[in-house]
Symmetry: C2
Subunit: 169 residues, 2 copies
DNA sequence: GCTAGATTGACAGTACACTTACAATATGGC
DNA sequence: GCCATATTGTAAGTGTACTGTCAATCTAGC
């Protein structure tokens, strides 16, 4: 009867999806920050701007669901975007707890201006792969993120963004 | 002459590799922490333990290169592992700046005990995909992380771990 | 052997990413 | 209308992840 445990080597780290996802996220952020150095925006701040642009008058809780970003941390992100005057926060008339988010003129201008940089960053992340492999990886990742959505502490709820319309409309 | 910029929608986020890598990292950490709740270890702390196990008497700088983890932050990680008594730090005789890292007995025991939980976590991350797709994704990710190594702020230098042997050996 | 430059570990600062807790407010059941 | 419950924003606490800077120390060139 063999009871031997396999030896623990660095392969227990390097060949595992957990390590690869961490590295890839690390690399993706580095590339994004490099391409978008001029505009002083982080990947999450960019996602928030896009979401507020797409859903004006969204509140922080719904924004969190739409970009799948932790609700508590989002407060700080919003604060930073407000300090940089890219967004505005206005109290909602119907619900005194809620503060609605809007892109400012300069926020909208920024968003328009950085799209080329963002696109360049996104392209660079997959650049080293052959075009066909890029497509395959993107398809598998999309599928995996979608199927694992509930495993995340902050599942994506894209449809949440529409809720605030139903009340007044 | 058309100069129109494409409309900015949430697709500028959802369909991009940057977003997918962030989500997947988020999901991977959540799954890891869930499976390893009992032992109170983070993914990075686990990687550090494996590396110290594989390379006893490694120093912090080389450890950083071996697990591709930021040198400055690693100090805190080491501190936490030391507080939990999983590792020991001993000053090096030859170089007074260096502190060498060793697994304690309880650190080695922990590492042995949690391997099944870690394996379960790693398996769960890819679970939703078909077996063939898991292999494809893992292969493409491994390739991409390797080819993008230098784009990271903390490139992996696995061979650095062996340097400390060359001096005295 | 002495000094210029590199290395090492430590620290301060910024930004995610998550947890739990809490007060203010809103809502639905009665 | 009143109250249990849920929602919203905020804050404190922990842990990555990176940027810098700094002093102590080592090493190489001379």
């Amino acid at each position: 009867m063999r009871n031997k445990t396999p030896p623990v080597t660095m392969d227990a780290v390097y060949s595992k999806p957990g390590y690869l996802f961490r590295r890839m996220q690390q690399i993706a952020v580095a590339i994004f920050m490099e391409e978008c150095r001029a505009c002083d925006l982080t990947p999450v701040q960019f996602a928030a701007l896009v979401a507020i642009h797409t859903h004006p008058a969204i509140d922080a809780t719904r924004l969190s669901a739409v970009i799948a970003f932790d609700r508590s941390t989002l407060g700080n992100v919003i604060e930073r975007l407000e300090t940089k005057q890219y967004i505005e926060r206005k109290p909602a008339a119907e619900d005194k707890r809620v503060k609605l988010l809007y892109l400012t003129r300069s926020g909208a201008a920024l968003l328009r201006d950085i799209m080329p940089s963002v696109d360049r960053a996104q392209a660079r992340m997959l650049q080293p792969l052959k075009p066909a492999d890029r497509k395959t990886l993107l398809a598998l990742l999309t599928q995996l993120v979608d199927l694992n959505n509930e495993a995340s502490r902050v599942p994506l709820r894209a449809e949440d963004a529409l809720e605030h319309l139903g009340k007044s409309g």
